[in-house]
């Protein structure tokens, strides 16, 4: 608790954190903006110096960052539980995979289609479900995630169990994005855009509406906020993040298969969001890095590493139930 009921007014103005638990304050001062630029520059310079293995791992961490940011809009901003987020990731990846290999499209032209496919899937799943209580969404999304994976596993066009391979890596104004370092920079750029969009959304009118709906749907509705539309917006924006992440994932690995989009993936994305702290962008980034780097850093432990990692996660949740990133107040 931040304050006692009787504490004096002016002091409480200072000590009271923002409604976003610091999220809205992420880039609000010149010093913080400068710090953000330093972090980005450091990420650009340092990674290639760490060697090719580290670059691949960090690229994966950045992919998780993008996906966790997208899922955070659904879970952290709008307060919806999505257990099948990997489905949107799959929709994006398969859209690119099919359109480039079967139909010979240019990668860049497939991105709008991937996004559109994810938006449609979001409307089909979210439209009817979001009218119900939030718990139903968890069940439906869980089913949706599995349906997409099983469909991909059985359809001819998605290459069935072996998936799609030979996806061509894209060119951008004469630059062939092919090496692992190239993709590292692409994902870094995407993550920065993802963060920027998330911050802007949090401060937008829609962000405000999410805040109210998350806290009390009935009160929000009674004040003229259409809860279904507001939640659907979060769900669709989250889907777009997932599809874009999936599209670039497909061209990075040049091969995709159903096992990349399992329920376990959805759980990992959700874990990244919850671990770092729902709704808090720095926390979500931290969560994504922990989920990816944790098992890598513990590689020396062999098959014990997942056990150690799991115990570590449990301890974090036990001692910091609202996430690692500090928020100052109970939200």
């Amino acid at each position: 608790m931040a304050l006692e009921p009787g504490s004096p007014g002016p002091q409480s103005v200072v000590s009271r954190p923002s409604a976003w638990g610091g999220l809205g304050l992420l880039l609000d001062t010149p010093a913080k903006r400068a710090a953000a630029i330093v972090v980005i520059l450091a990420a650009m310079v340092a990674a290639p110096l760490l060697g090719p293995y580290a670059v691949v791992i960090l690229t994966n961490a950045l992919l998780y960052t993008i996906l966790a940011l997208g899922l955070n809009i659904v879970v952290g901003y709008a307060g919806l539980l999505d257990l099948g987020y990997a489905a949107f990731f799959a929709v994006g990846a398969y859209s690119v995979g099919i359109l480039t290999t079967v139909f010979g499209w240019n990668f860049w032209a497939t991105i709008p289609v991937a996004v559109l496919a994810a938006v449609c899937a979001g409307i089909i799943i979210g439209g009817p479900t979001l009218r119900l209580r939030s718990d139903y969404l968890a069940i439906v999304t869980l089913g949706f995630g599995e349906i997409v994976r099983i469909a991909a596993r059985n359809l001819q066009i998605t290459g069935a169990a072996s998936g799609i391979s030979g996806i061509e890596q894209p060119w951008l104004f004469g630059w062939h994005i092919a090496g692992s370092t190239d993709f590292y920079y692409v994902f870094l750029l995407l993550a920065v855009i993802g963060i920027f969009v998330s911050v802007r959304l949090a401060r937008s009118r829609l962000g405000r509406a999410w805040l109210y709906v998350r806290h009390d749907e009935d009160a929000a509705e009674a004040m003229g906020i259409d809860r279904v539309r507001v939640k659907l917006a979060a769900y669709i924006i989250g889907a777009i993040y997932g599809a874009i992440g999936g599209a670039f994932f497909a061209v990075n690995f040049t091969a995709i298969s159903p096992q990349s989009f399992s329920f376990q993936q959805s759980t990992l994305f959700l874990m990244a969001v919850i671990l770092g702290g729902m709704g808090k962008i720095p926390g979500v980034i931290l969560g994504a890095f922990i989920v990816v780097l944790g098992p890598e850093l513990l590689r020396d432990l062999g098959s014990f590493r997942y056990l150690v990692f799991a115990v570590g996660l449990l301890l974090i949740m036990l001692f910091r139930p609202s996430g690692i990133w500090p928020s100052g107040a109970k939200r």
Binding site: L3, P5, S12, R16, Y212, D216, D218, A220, A222, D226
Partner: protein
């Protein structure tokens, strides 16, 4: 005598319920511009359901609810609120973790004009000075009475034409009950029409212009508040006060 003002809110044969349980069996009532109308009755009589049906939180299965000539049945709760029918639900629904000011700003969310929002915030603060004092504190840390003021203040931010108040005196100390009723009267005098659900029938009838007594989901009796209040048999039989 009941006022001659035009009817703003009218319910005709309204039926509604939860799942298979029917809570309202054909409610007819009218609220005229500038009135305070009170809905009385025992627990389970359908008072809260009536308010929820008007504001769209519960869907009417039959009958019609009209506000300024527009049919409300079938509209979304958020649309009904935007028309100016604002519900202050039972239990206040103060948003925990948000400051008093942020709670008030929720009320003004659909008000596009920032100048109007500022004026209304100023108006709410002038009605409830305690809210100004505590504007940066967590709304859920306020006392029961203050939370009630916050809930009403939030509804005022929205600029209601008709305010639906559900048990504003619930759980308040007697002194605060009187204070709350005084505020409701003041609001009414600034031109807000009020439909009030109350347990405290005697007080409600003193405040209101007109009253309806509900029993098991139907209107059992209606009349001028004064007449209803004067009839001791009514008070004893239906109002349990």
């Amino acid at each position: 005598m009941r006022s001659e003002a035009p009817v703003v809110l009218s319910l005709k044969g309204v039926e509604a319920g939860y799942g298979r349980i029917r809570a309202l069996h054909g409610i007819d009532l009218e609220v005229r511009a500038g009135e305070i109308v009170t809905l009385l009755g025992a627990n389970g009589a359908g008072k809260t359901t009536t308010l929820k049906t008007i504001s769209g939180l519960v869907r009417a299965t039959a009958g019609s609810v009209t506000f300024e000539g527009q049919e409300l049945v079938g509209r979304k709760a958020s649309d009904i609120a935007r028309l100016g029918v604002v519900h202050v639900p039972e239990g206040r629904h103060v948003l925990r973790g948000l400051s008093v000011r942020e709670n008030l700003e929720l009320g003004g969310f659909t008000v596009a004009d920032p100048k109007l929002r500022r004026e209304r915030l100023e108006h709410a603060f002038s009605l409830f000075p305690i809210l100004r004092e505590r504007q940066h504190q967590d709304g859920s840390l306020l006392s029961g009475g203050e939370q009630q003021m916050l809930a009403i203040g939030r509804a005022l931010m929205h600029g209601p034409k008709v305010l639906l108040l559900d048990e504003p005196s619930m759980g308040l100390a007697p002194k605060l009950v009187l204070e709350t009723f005084r505020i409701i009267r003041d609001l009414n005098q600034t031109g807000v029409t009020i439909l009030l659900v109350e347990q405290n029938a005697r007080l409600a009838l003193k405040l209101a212009d007109y009253g309806y007594v509900l029993e098991t989901g139907a209107v059992r009796m209606a009349g001028d508040a004064e007449t209803l209040g004067a009839s001791t048999s009514i008070v004893e039989a239906y109002l349990g006060a």
